[in-house]
Point group: C2
Chain length 124, copies 2
Amino acid sequence: MSKNNLEKYLDADNCPVRNVLDRIGDKWSVLVILLLGDADTLRFNEIHKYIGTISQKMLTVTLKKLEADDLIHREIYPQIPPKVEYNLTERGKSLLPNLKNLVSWANEHMVEIKSARATALTSS
Amino acid sequence: MSKNNLEKYLDADNCPVRNVLDRIGDKWSVLVILLLGDADTLRFNEIHKYIGTISQKMLTVTLKKLEADDLIHREIYPQIPPKVEYNLTERGKSLLPNLKNLVSWANEHMVEIKSARATALTSS
DNA sequence: AATGTTAATTACCTTAAAGTAAGTGTCTTA
DNA sequence: TAAGACACTTACTTTAAGGTAATTAACATT
């Protein structure tokens, strides 16, 4: 193994993994993407109700970040009361399989991981 | 789309996605896993040197969490000065392809995402 | 006798993420 | 005329993550 071989992961702030994980590693982004992946199109309050535990503020923040990365599209209908719909962009859709794989992995391993964590706790 | 269809993502603190992302979404875990995936076995100070910008404290914390989840294995050699080696467990290895897919996606999309972010900034 | 080695730990501080609760605008309906 | 709908925004507070720098144990080397 050469150090060269590893530098692709370590390009400081230019590191692609970090650039993606910095956005997706937050508390809500992945949930919103998966939700829109399943639901196709949802309004602000629909997302809010589905996730239940997210605050309005955090939903706004999360949606804005995802929109800034062009992972979701925001469609405003000029009517009152306002109507705003969100759906995944092509880029968002291209990320979806990766996330779903992670979800599958999580589903397959969660029970074991939880018991590993419990063991780690008791033996410390 | 039924609400039922989405509840699998929203099981509060029992949600597998959140359980995994809570650990992997931190600043260093993925980097360490990728590193060990490439390097097979590394000592504490080797990881420290490769990542360069990680503090000793955060490396300890990160390794402990990964060990608690049984994603990495910690081998202590009873000698002085101490020697401790880390490598991926089978579970850690099973996670690796998912992470590498994410890395690939990130590599393919980072340039576009960066320009999307720039556009989002100027138009706000 | 002093210094170096390795893998940590500890106390302390800063920053960033997330949560709370209230308010905003504009129209519709009761 | 008051309340309600919707998609936010704002000010403020709390919590968690991460960083800094000094210290430790136990022996080996100079």
